[in-house]
Amino acid sequence: MLCALAFALAFGSGLCAAASQLGFTATVTPGLIASMVGRFSEQARQRLAAWVNFAVLQQASKAKSPQPASENAQLRSVNDYINTVPWYDDQVHWGQVDYWATPAETMASHGGDCEDFAIAKYFMLKELGVPIERLRITYVRAGKVNQPHMVLAYYASPGGEPLILDNLDARVLPASARADLVPVYSFNDDDVVMVKGNYKGSASTIRAWQSVIGRLEREARL
């Protein structure tokens, strides 16, 4: 029992340090690169390097420009950057019916589907300092493809109209301009950390999200 307690303490504290940076380019360590190269291909090295590089450039430009204008600019460049990753069906790309990839997995494998992109955009914007209460990963019904879909919604003000970051339409448009999308349910990890700092709460009921968080924690330890 003592042993388990000590383990949990050591583990927990390590977790806390990394938790704030989960899914960020800062977690791209030589260990992570080696792991990704092993899982996918030698190209993963360049792809991850490029991703890190993109994040550095974005940080730099953010430092130069004033806040409100730059946040919109960041939305567009992040949307564009992630949308360069080619779309693959989960079954083809991951060999599973529904697989939610971490940003690093998406970048390194150079492929993904709607939720992978939404997740990657969410973590990228979070890393660039966008307050997470403005970001919501949203389940939507997409009229165009007529299938369940996922996008990232950006609320400049809580009661206002969001901007939609989508891979079906590469432009960043207000929700009213996207009549093809019907929102169903949204979440962010503000909900997740809401209660006592534990992963209890609404997002914890989304099994796939929990799996992503679990893999992010493993990646952070690599």
């Binding site: 029992m1 009661g159 709460g201």
Partner: protein, 662 residues
């Protein structure tokens, strides 16, 4: 405290701590589960409320919001349901007073249930409207936790009790061996060398028991060997080597036992048988023929009867003796006459009819309270009469006619005299010192009693005590002697008034003789117990002696008496020890403080190698049982050297100190 209790305490304590831990963890685990369930429940309620409100026609209508919330809230499972608008304004707020759960305060403190809230975002289309927060009521969870806690505790307690009982049973079974070893060790401490019969499971115990038993068996073996040797020496010491019949010492022993006071009154004939002219026969026929004849003669004599009705022995070269006792006066005389004719025939058969003859002198008596000494003297007289004519003859003379009757007084006269003396306490105590060998330091003082006659003379114990016993006055006599001795000791305040005797504990020890009848006499025993417990300091200085003969007659009562006396603080010892086989074997269980050897054993130490062997063997046995051996009736200084060499540890007699008025 016993080892078993330590183990039981330690293991049960450990087990209690363990079970308490298990109980705590079980309740704590249930608590965590309930907390999680409460949280999940709140979360689900919040989500479903958010979805219901989001899909309503006009989600901004607060009346509508309250209408949606109320049915859910009124189920009573929530402490609070709030709807907060996106601007932060509280739109709906339903609250219950926090219910006081029906469980003890301390329980809530030890196992707090923090009701986690559930929260969900309300959105209508892309528009975010606000948040629903739901807080569950922990009261129900507390009740459940309390109930399950009680059940867990009850189960664990039952388990604990079962484990405790099982543990106790196992320990008892396991430690049975240790108890057996302890009791055997205790017995060995008391010089009872026995083995442990229990077969333990544990290897260590097995080894200990095996080693213990081996050691005990070895010591036993040594003692048994000593006993066997003593038995051998005893046979040799009491048996005539040539003929196999008892020798003088052996006959003495047997006759003394038959003549012991208190036996049922019988008629008796004591005969001395002498073969006249045996020396001539020896000269004529050679010693081999003579030996053969003597053997045959002894066989014929001893074939005449069985002890205790008939005992015979060879006193010396050509003199034999026989004692016949019976309830029938005519039988003894007739038997003796038959034996006489058989002996004559044996003489004829050996071809010694001409030169040798058998002469028998016998005394007839109708009262067994006789001393062997008196009988020998009287029979000698009768033998002289038988030899008058110088041929084979049988002469039977009534004891009264020989003039050697020791009981000059009539039996009734003795009784009156003794009763009178007991009444008036006309008894004088005499003390005789017993000293140690070789240091000759005082061991103890033996106190004897003499009867004061009206004429101012005293009658020694050996004369009046048998008469007292015969009239069953023994216990009364012993009681009076005990009283007199205790009074004397109290008066004298020994050893304060006798600094010369060193004042050491042993110097003040007093030995008192008790008769066999006293040992099981209830009145005497009660008297003894009362006296000794009233004066525990004096009791420590007393040793009660009883004769070996009395021991053999009261085999059951004597060990009980010895234990009783020891419990009162005094000691128990055997007097007049003559090494009868039975008493030697029982020495081990009786464990007297010391043995006083019969004077007949030590009388001929100079002349008889057998007697020396017997005494030294006896000393070895006694030493292995840590019993002191004391020789008594020692009159010559030279005997003391022999006794010292034989290992005797104490001596009493004229050589070291006469009886003095005490």
């Amino acid at each position: 405290m016993k080892l078993g209790y330590y183990l039981l305490l330690a293991v049960s304590g450990l087990f209690a701590v363990l079970l308490a831990g298990v109980g705590y963890m079980s309740v704590s685990g249930t608590r965590d589960y309930l907390e999680h369930q409460l949280g999940a429940h709140a979360e689900e309620t919040a989500t479903s409320l958010a979805l219901a409100i989001g899909s309503a026609a006009n989600p901004d209508d607060t009346v509508l919001l309250a209408t949606i919330v109320n049915p859910v809230f009124d189920r009573g499972q929530y402490e609070r349901i709030q709807i907060i608008g996106i601007s932060g304004a509280v739109l709906v707020n339903r609250k219950l007073q926090p219910a006081d759960p029906d469980v003890p305060e301390w329980f809530q403190r030890v196992f707090p249930i923090e009701s986690p809230g559930g929260e969900a975002l309300i959105s209508a289309g892309w528009r975010q409207i606000g948040r629903v927060t739901v807080l569950s009521r922990p009261a129900l969870a507390y009740a459940h936790l309390w109930q399950s806690g009680i059940e867990t505790l009850a189960w664990l307690f039952a388990l604990y009790l079962v484990a405790l009982v099982a543990l106790r049973a196992m320990l008892v079974l396991l430690l049975r061996t240790l108890t057996a070893i302890e009791s055997a060790a205790h017995d060995i401490g008391e010089r009872k060398f026995r083995t442990i019969t229990i077969k333990p499971w544990a290897r260590e115990f097995k080894s200990v028991v095996a080693a213990f038993n081996q050691l005990s068996r070895k010591i036993r073996l040594v003692i048994d060997e000593e006993m066997a040797r003593a038995e051998q020496f005893r046979r040799e010491a009491f048996t005539d080597a040539l003929t196999g019949v008892p020798n003088r010492r052996g006959l003495d022993l047997q006759i003394q036992r038959i003549l012991e006071p208190g036996t049922i009154e019988k008629f008796g004939v004591f005969a001395m048988i002498e073969i006249h002219g045996l020396a001539d026969f020896n000269k004529k026929s050679g010693f081999q023929k003579t030996d053969e004849f003597l053997r045959h003669f002894s066989a014929v004599l001893s074939a005449a009867g069985e002890p205790p009705d008939f005992v015979c022995g060879r006193l010396n070269g050509a003199t034999f003796a026989a004692l016949l006792t019976s309830t029938d006066a005519a039988w003894a005389a007739a038997t003796l006459s038959g034996v006489f004719h058989q002996l004559q025939a044996a003489l004829e058969q050996a071809g010694a009819g001409g030169s040798a003859m058998v002469q028998v002198g016998a005394v007839q008596f109708d009262d067994l309270d006789q001393s062997l000494h008196g009988l020998l003297a009287a029979a000698d007289l009768a033998l002289a009469r038988a030899g008058r004519d110088g041929r084979s003859a049988l002469e039977i003379v009534p004891l009264t006619e020989t003039g050697a009757d020791s009981s000059a007084r009539g039996s009734g006269e003795w009784r009156r005299l003794i009763e009178q003396a007991l009444e008036a306490r006309q008894l004088t105590l005499f003390a005789q010192t017993v000293v140690s060998l070789p240091a000759k330091r005082m061991l103890h003082t033996e106190v004897n009693v003499r009867l004061q006659e009206s004429a101012g003379q005293t009658v020694p114990a050996r004369l009046f005590v048998p008469m007292a016993l015969r009239h069953k006055l023994g216990p009364r006599l012993d009681a009076v002697v005990l009283d007199l001795a205790l009074e004397h000791l109290t008066r004298e305040q020994w050893p304060a008034n006798a600094p010369k005797q060193g004042g050491a504990g042993a110097a003040g020890v007093i030995a008192l003789n008790l008769c066999g009848a006293s040992l099981s006499d209830t009145a005497f025993l009660a008297h003894l117990a009362a006296r000794l417990s009233a004066a525990p300091a004096l009791a420590k200085r007393l040793v009660f002696e009883t004769s070996e003969a009395a021991f053999l007659e009261n085999l059951e009562a004597v060990p009980v008496f010895a234990a009783r006396v020891r419990a009162l603080g005094a000691q128990f010892a055997l007097d007049n020890f003559m090494v009868s086989g039975e008493s030697l074997k029982r020495l081990e269980s009786l464990l007297p403080h010391y043995l006083k050897l019969s004077a007949s054993l030590t009388a001929d130490l100079f002349t008889s190698a057998e007697a020396r062997f017997l005494v030294s063997s006896l000393v070895r046995i006694a030493q292995s049982l840590e019993i002191a051996v004391i020789a008594q009736g020692i009159e010559e200084e030279q005997s003391i050297d022999v006794l010292t060499r034989l290992g005797v540890s104490g001596v009493q007699g004229y050589a070291v100190g006469r009886p003095e008025p005490w």
